[in-house]
């Protein structure tokens, strides 16, 4: 009864197929991401290239996300989804083949990251847009929650599977696994019915929307403070995942499986943080949340670091992610919706 209620959006065939495809596809993508980081570090021995890879992936997303949203509003969504998934599939296949032939260079990996960032700018809005048409309105909140589980869940499984696979089938095998994941997503899109959108209605441009947001944030002290905190936290905490191959190989000497564990930890943290926030009946003051989170972080680090260093580090990162989750309200409603 409980599960029927919790997973009620799965009653809708198209949504269920779409969800399964996304879960497998995203898990495959994270297997690829883990292998990419590991391979870049093997090829260059330089944390700079790891940072550069994150930059190459993220910059196109910033530059093209507005364009992606606008294009999705005006073009056939199935076509965009097929094009973007095919691009992901071909890129993973390209990396696998180049790696297998032994001709892969770091610029190949950086180029694939940049192209992935570009295509994600289009794939993300179209994916979200499709989701809204697969379930009736009454089941939409449940569908959105389960949709978030795709990302939190695959963050838990993807990197750990990637880390375990690297010693077994090497990074090239991971790229082929990702190719398979993308192929599954591509197949699922042909198994579901996606209604066409009506012609683009007049709506505000994203630039105008953004300017209004900036204006509001600048003139509302609470928003300005919240966005400042969010900006600092995001700028300083997100890059650490890029350096995980350095920790796994050179500092903790736990190899690729350890890398998987380290990259899995933030996923577990996100789930823990999300469940914690969801179970809070009365939302605490943000500054109290800060000190509570820091105390938990410090206690776990103190108690475990001497017993099992790699586990300790992993768990510290679980809590670290959880803390940043609390602050940035990542994957949740923005703080502006929670506080006034």
């Amino acid at each position: 009864m409980y599960f029927t209620h919790t997973f009620r959006a799965f009653r809708h065939r198209d949504y269920f197929i779409f969800w399964c495809g996304l879960f497998l596809g995203h898990t495959g993508t994270l297997v690829q991401t883990t292998a990419q980081g590991w391979l870049i570090f093997q090829l260059t021995d330089s944390p700079f290239y790891l940072g550069l890879e994150g930059f190459c992936l993220g910059l196109p997303r910033v530059l093209f996300s507005a364009l992606g949203g606008a294009v999705v509003d005006r073009t056939d969504r199935k076509t965009i989804f097929v094009i973007t998934q095919s691009a992901f599939l071909l890129m993973a296949l390209f990396l696998g083949v180049m790696n297998h032939l032994g001709t892969i260079r770091v610029w190949h990996l950086l180029m694939v990251s940049a192209l992935t960032g570009f295509f994600v700018s289009f794939e993300q809005p179209v994916r979200q847009s499709i989701l809204h048409h697969l379930v009736p309105r009454s089941d939409l909140p449940n569908a959105v929650t389960l949709y978030q589980m795709v990302f939190n869940g695959s963050m838990l499984f993807g990197p750990s599977i990637g880390g375990l696979l690297i010693p077994w089938i090497d990074t090239q095998g991971c790229f082929f696994v990702a190719t398979g994941g993308n192929l599954i997503v591509l197949l699922t899109i042909f198994m579901i019915r996606i209604p066409s959108l009506p012609a683009a209605q007049s709506r505000k441009s994203l630039t105008r929307d953004m300017m209004e947001g900036l204006n509001l944030a600048w003139n509302t002290p609470l928003f300005l403070t919240l966005f400042t905190v969010l900006g600092i936290v995001t700028f300083c905490t997100k890059p650490y995942t890029q350096f995980m191959p350095v920790f796994a190989r050179d500092i903790l000497a736990v190899g690729a499986p350890g890398l998987g564990l380290l990259l899995m930890a933030p996923g577990a943290g996100a789930i823990l943080g999300g469940l914690t926030l969801a179970s809070i009946r009365r939302f605490p003051k943000p500054h109290r949340l800060l000190f509570f989170s820091c105390r938990g972080f410090w206690l776990v680090h103190r108690s475990l670091r001497r017993v099992a260093p790699p586990v300790s580090v992993a768990i510290v990162f679980v809590y670290r992610r959880r803390i940043s989750d609390h602050f940035s309200f990542r994957d949740r409603n923005p703080a502006a919706n929670l506080y006034r």
Binding site: P47, L52, T228, V229, I232, T234, Q242, L338
Partner: protein, 62 residues
């Protein structure tokens, strides 16, 4: 929401580049430590010196 999305998605990768450069000079562990210190210090500063966060009420709270 757009601004939130831009900050959330955009600033993280922007940080990868400068922190990657710093990591080549001082090493990844110290870079991550510096990231952590910067985060806690700046958030503590905002929380302590900006009263808006202390005075904020959750939606639905009286």
């Amino acid at each position: 929401m757009s601004l939130f999305g831009l900050i959330n998605r955009g600033l993280g990768p922007m940080g990868s580049f400068p922190f990657g450069l710093i990591a080549t000079v001082i090493g990844a562990p110290w870079t991550v430590a510096a990231c952590g210190f910067l985060t806690v210090a700046s958030v503590a500063y905002v929380v302590i010196y900006r009263s808006q966060l202390r005075d904020a009420k959750a939606v639905g709270e009286a």
